[in-house]
Subunit: 161 residues, 2 copies
DNA sequence: CTTATTGCAAACGTTTTGCACGTTT
DNA sequence: AAACGTGCAAAACGTTTGCAATAAG
């Protein structure tokens, strides 16, 4: 059981995702709007991690008729994150990046040169964290593990870019 | 080798710390100012993790004659962090908290109810992270591990506060 | 006397909010 | 019709920066 880049392919079809989203909305008396669909669609269509601003640009490119505002992107991303449909990585003051997060929990390894983000999962680390939380008497709710380094491609650059 | 809260007592005397700071400044042709000393002093006197704003308030309380500006606090904290004298934890968009960081590398466990921050170090997790970085061909530079949960004290509160 | 440092206020980048208007149910 | 969602612009937030005045070496 060696670490591999986790697959970046969506685990479920868009139809299934959409139904799930609609159910969640209904359960909270929230409304299914064109903007919310466009945001979900964009997240589904693009593999990787995006800032709200990047998503906003992508959404406007593909759905120019909607004039979606950045505030709606933020509001919807919060909504989707609370619902467990997307996950985010924080980059401090530089903001957050979001991705469709139907997949299982994972951690991140980030290239400090090019910003590339890879995902991994390590069972031993997961268990160790639970144990540490327990030793402190904490009830663990969540954790965040980020490894920063230089990716193979960037190690080969001469540094002239 | 079980996990314990790492000692929060400063490992060196204030005098030693001060000398070290002065040396570092001299080595870079930087100047030793009243404000920089006040900031170092405040970090030394207060155990724990503080936002720049909290430190600013503490510094002004104890050194009202200095009229230290928040910008100087930020500038000095960066300086101290680069010099390896303080370390910071990032809380996403909510900013960073700083502490005197002469001690060895450690990770954090954070109570999501009261904000309490405890420190720990786990050799196995450290090694595992190096190995994972290696498996991806990365040269590891840094990492950040935060465990979030509810501390023993907050588990006992009835939730009425 | 030279150079670094300061406080202040303005600028910054990201995120949130108030509100009148629009859409969904 | 009722309730929720929207875009917009303004505000908020933590942080950084330009600059003339000041203090350190």
């Amino acid at each position: 059981m060696k670490n591999q880049p986790l697959s970046t392919a969506p685990l479920i079809s868009y139809g299934t995702l959409l139904s799930r989203f609609k159910e969640l909305l209904k359960a909270d008396n929230l409304k299914f709007t064109r903007q919310r669909e466009a945001i979900l669609q964009t997240l589904y269509d693009h593999t990787g991690h995006f800032t709200p601003e990047e998503l906003h640009r992508l959404i406007k490119e593909k759905n120019p008729e909607l004039k979606t505002g950045i505030a709606t992107v933020y509001r919807t991303l919060s909504l989707l994150e609370k619902a467990g449909i997307v996950t985010s990585i924080s980059f401090g003051t530089q903001g957050k990046k979001y991705e469709l997060g139907i997949k299982a929990h994972h951690d991140h390894i980030i290239c400090t040169k090019c910003g590339k983000i890879l995902e991994f999962f390590d069972e031993a680390i997961e268990r160790k964290q639970e144990r540490i939380a327990g030793e402190f008497g904490f009830v663990m709710e969540d954790h965040s593990l980020k490894i920063f380094g230089v990716c193979p491609e960037c190690q080969n650059t001469t540094g002239k870019d």
